[in-house]
Symmetry: C2
Subunit: 320 residues, 2 copies
Amino acid sequence: MNSAFFSPMDMDQKEKQKEQSSSPIYVHNPHLDALKDDILYHFSLGTGSHNLPAMFGDVKFVCVGGSPWRMKSFTEFIAAELAMEDPKSEYPNICAGTDRYAMYKVGPVLSVSHGMGIPSIAIMLHELIKLLHHARCTDVTIIRIGTSGGIGLEPGTVVVTKQSVDATFQPKFEQVILGKTVVRSTDLDQSLAQELLQCSKGLNQFETVIGNTMCTLDFYEGQARLDGAFCSYTETDKQEYLLKAKEAEVCNIEMESSVFAAMCKLSGLRAAVVCVTLLDRLKGDQLSSSHEVLNSYQLRPQILVGSYIKQQLKAKAENR
Amino acid sequence: MNSAFFSPMDMDQKEKQKEQSSSPIYVHNPHLDALKDDILYHFSLGTGSHNLPAMFGDVKFVCVGGSPWRMKSFTEFIAAELAMEDPKSEYPNICAGTDRYAMYKVGPVLSVSHGMGIPSIAIMLHELIKLLHHARCTDVTIIRIGTSGGIGLEPGTVVVTKQSVDATFQPKFEQVILGKTVVRSTDLDQSLAQELLQCSKGLNQFETVIGNTMCTLDFYEGQARLDGAFCSYTETDKQEYLLKAKEAEVCNIEMESSVFAAMCKLSGLRAAVVCVTLLDRLKGDQLSSSHEVLNSYQLRPQILVGSYIKQQLKAKAENR
């Protein structure tokens, strides 16, 4: 597979027409047009200082995850999958001017870290959506690859999110604007979720399920853990809460999916969340598995999403 | 100044008695005693794998900030201030086994990064409070040194927080536990805030004020910025909101102070928040100052807090 194949530079007329009828990235902000330059501060990038269409115009897949190390390792993995390895194996961090986020790119695949929690991923997504908009990208699929706590699942199970729900099991995200709460939908692309599930069945390397994902604002008290600095509830209270979550079809718990779903939906990005479960929260709270085991689990979303991207690019190449 | 001076190893009897009557770090969790080992997962540390009292028992000051680079540079700065430089100038990252947080230590001063936003700092604080508890630390002062947007202040002004307020200007933090909202106080140590203000007056290097700090869950829509991917309000709406904040004595806006204040109060840590303002939000939203200017602003909380710690340690040494 030739990396130039995915470059907008060699598109023929037919492809150009296809491109024009395809889905852009929406920003919903009339004020942006008035900005002379747009500084994407937390990426250390900007429209005045960087040629964003040249740097990012060919992006078709964006993978995001909490840890910068994991997003670098995903870049190396996807480069090998797509046979697009740099012979020197060098993948420079595009956001090297800041330590807030790390960003890597191989062909049409962008890999970005987002830190932990809703506020951290929201800052990244605001700037990523503007970046894709300024770069005039179209038909972009975005997938969060992460880790989570499972409910009643064997550790290492991969969960493709059907719906992201809050701590009361409602499919909504509350955004505070000018001090008032606005409720946003957390719908994800159901066809993408099904395609990922099918892809995993084809791979047949690990258990993958589809289910709801609970997104919380806290890792300890917010997820009913008994091992934080503070805990005012009993083991029985914890079990009752997690079993209620299970009844609401919650398969796993993490800390970013709700705002990710809400913002991607608003901007027209086809979005999915693929998280591995590191432990079964019905059986414990501490991450006591060995580093080797935890690392092997963390590779699973990368393997699934890498395989899916490869499949999609192959199908696209065959349809040309 | 001798680094061994601050070590618990050379305390005389009188000092031991003083230590016994001093303030411990409180965890409020009866379940912790039942844990064989306590794994501080996001620090890659634990009671089974590390001798926490030997590593951290002498800690008297903890400084926390969003950026790992800034917390490393603070460590180098405070080492020079206290004349405790490592001749090889090596400050190893104590959390080198993970990329979630970075941690450095020089004598009695611990420096820890916390990422961006309430959930990210909350995970760090749960594990930090447990670490200080397991290490049997006493009389610990903790200061967040950060960046913020100012309201009606000259950029570069340092704000010592009087009270952390939410997006409706109320001095409270809402913690969700088992799906229910619990309201916590965001009181900070007023005497510590006054001591920091006095220290800055003595330094006389930059403007420092005391005032309320608004803590939001989002950097763009949550802080009434006009330059995010989404914006549904006008410049007039923005100005009205920020002026209402100013009426409520809000001097600056950031994203971590409320949960920091709430958790430190619960655990008996003497806590303060010292943030520099990078811009005046009444005049703009984009961080368009040069990197040199922004970097010089970001040094100011470090200079103030470094000077305060030096003063305190000197006074303590003289009282012995």
